[in-house]
Symmetry: C2
Subunit: 424 residues, 2 copies
């Protein structure tokens, strides 16, 4: 095996070369390549599942948690679902080549902006092998090459999937080098990827807060970070109580392990005495632990079957990813927004209110990737927002914010067509 | 004087607080603030010119070059021109609050993207004091606060200008803290600004290649770099010779000191014998030195009065910013594009050709912020592209490429208005 540095340089270099070709390939060729990948996942199911079984078995030996092994696991149904996602991406419109703001200037120059791919996307992710295929499909469709660094626990699965992808796209006439899976599981590789300016144009880290912090500090190329959501729903004094319970419960319980799930519910003191006991009864059934400030605890503590404890200061900054929620009582909209500004991660923030001015102020003043009035934060998602698919949910403000779909994997170039114009 | 770190923390903190207010200020208030700045530049002309005279005098004592002192110099005409620019920015449409792609989803959710300011912009620049006003105006109009670090040689001018700005915007009811000029001229300050993630949301370095490289390596926040242009014009075999001479000459001679000026002219061998002597005669008059490859030198060497020397390998990667140009002869469009890909900085690239396929291939395949057919690269400019004004010309692909105007100083947030929707 070559060294880590060599592998990165060789693979990213091959990816860059492939990216140049890919940038000017027509949509029908790219879509055929994607359909070939979907077909290949079915045709090569035995090999893929066998490779995945080796990862699962090694994971058992290494004492990995069941939840981790579940994310790592592939089976025929999951492979079919992944293939279906790839077909969906093939069906989306191609962002590349779209022309924006074309116009003829007074001097006759025809000036516009044309969408172009970014080049080589680097992705650092963890154990879910479906990411290998999802990201490859989105990058190919948007004309980008990709260098993938999955978790070492998924290395056999990812290598098998990458082989399918490379064959499938080569059959469509695309350079197989457009998708590169790093085989080295050396931990040093992440550090090297962060320094690979010139080889990687955009880095997308999909992982926990430690990885994201490291990327911000060390990466020498642009990076889009996201995935960390400390999300609030504020139940205003003018909320419809029933609607508020439905929205808050949905935001927490429908899928607690994801980034757009509720972490803290903030309740106006005027509605807390009616709202909180009803919520606590519902959450007692659902098994949600409530981490309460003093006032909230005094209201819900007596609810039968409830799991309620006093919140620690750290709780307000915690992304739980589980059936746990902070509960805080405030005396005003301003106090709620102040708390959100201090503790939110700029991901998804909601207000439930029938008060027009309160709802509009919340939307104007809260600074987050997505701000909701009378709806669940769980809707912050590329599919739900109509993008068809997403590579990440960005909590950056630069380039892309919120769900990143195909368009967000592109840049543009200014195109200027003249008839001999010179500048005076 | 407080320490460098203290000054940065205090000023950037005050800027962030001001940015929160500024984000939701109506356009008419921001425009009034800008007009106040323009008025203030006139009313305070004596104080500003006196401060500038101190910088100029110190610059003389420090042995600064005349060209540097010229960039540093303010006079009544220049101040009027700066004020006029501020009035132009006031007259531009406000990008903040623009709603993009609003639609009603099948479940009734109304989802759109609303343009919002980025927050606090950090700008590192050199000696031109007009930048202090230009950037302040663009940031204020786009709802951003700004932390400015100008060159130490312009410190008196910048401090005087900042005082005018702060008073002017406070009179309009905006927080004066929205514009901060760092007073410390400690060289350590740049390093500290690069590490000020959380204090500065976007960094715009306006300076040479060393600063830009340092930003890429050290900055912990997003940065937009630009300003370095190694620009080519390719004269195809099917070029109209007269048009080619006009365009190439304009690209080099009209303003050699700027980033969109021509650095290397690439000429197809079939047209070189007629084109190059004519260009050489023109450039002999204009005083342009031609740094030629062997074939070009053999053609232009005999032209009377020409200044032609053999090019060194470094010449092809040089941004001259002066009356110097590389001259290279190629045998094909492909060879020209290969050279541009290897040596260009992704800024401005042009082809002169009457051949449809060659022109279209050049536009499709050359990867740069702006690609021109039959026009001078000198048009790569915010004003010429219809943006009204620009903070920089980005050679990045992320967030903004080419001229950055007001829109490019914004992000967006997703706004979702519901009637109680939850996710299934």
């Amino acid at each position: 095996m070559q060294s880590v540095a060599d592998e990165l340089e060789v693979k990213a270099g091959a990816a860059r070369k492939a990216a140049r070709t890919l940038a000017n390939v027509n949509s029908d060729v790219k879509d055929r390549a994607l359909r070939n990948i979907a077909d290949g996942l079915r045709a090569n199911q035995p090999e893929i599942l066998e490779a995945n079984a080796r990862d699962i078995s090694a994971g058992h030996d290494n004492g990995l948690a069941e939840s981790f092994l579940d994310r790592l696991l592939l089976n025929p149904e999951r492979l079919e679902a992944i293939a279906a996602d790839v077909r969906s991406v093939a069906a989306l419109p191609d962002p590349v080549g779209e022309v924006l703001d074309m116009r003829t200037m007074p001097n006759g120059l025809k000036i516009g902006k044309r969408r172009v791919p970014l080049g080589v996307i680097g992705v650092i992710y963890e154990s879910r092998p479906n990411v290998t295929i999802d990201i490859s499909a989105l990058c190919l469709k948007s004309g980008n090459a990709v260098v993938l660094r999955g978790g070492s626990d998924a290395i056999n699965s990812n290598t098998a999937l990458a082989a399918v992808v490379k064959r499938a796209i080569a059959e469509a006439g695309l350079p197989g080098d457009a998708v590169q899976v790093m085989e080295s599981t050396d931990r040093d590789l992440v550090g090297r990827m962060l320094k690979a300016r010139g080889l990687i144009d955009l880095l997308i880290p999909r992982g926990g807060q430690d990885l994201i912090r490291r990327v911000a500090e060390e990466a020498t190329m642009p990076a889009i970070t996201g995935g960390v959501g400390v999300c609030h729903t504020y139940v205003d004094k003018a909320a419809d109580t029933e609607m508020a319970i439905s929205i808050v419960d949905n935001a927490k319980v429908s899928r607690p392990s994801v980034c757009n799930a509720l972490d803290t519910v903030i309740v106006h003191s005027a509605i807390a005495p009616s709202f909180l006991p009803a919520l606590a009864r519902k959450w007692a059934e659902a098994g949600v632990q409530m981490r309460c400030d003093t006032r909230a605890l005094s209201i819900v503590g007596a609810v039968r079957g409830v799991s309620a404890v006093a919140a620690t200061p750290e709780d307000w900054d915690t992304e739980y990813l589980s059936l746990t929620a902070g509960v805080k009582v405030v005396d005003s909209l301003e106090e709620a927004m102040e708390h959100i500004q201090e503790h939110g991660s700029g991901h998804s923030e909601a207000i439930v209110s029938e008060d027009y001015t309160a709802a509009m102020r919340f939307m104007d003043e809260v600074d987050a990737a997505a701000v909701f009035i009378n709806a669940s934060t769980r809707f912050n998602d590329g599919g739900e927002f109509g993008l068809g698919a997403e590579v990440a949910i960005s909590t950056n403000k630069m380039h892309a914010r919120g769900p990143m779909g195909l368009k967000e994997l592109t840049s543009y170039k200014w195109t200027v067509m003249g008839t001999g114009q010179v500048r005076s």
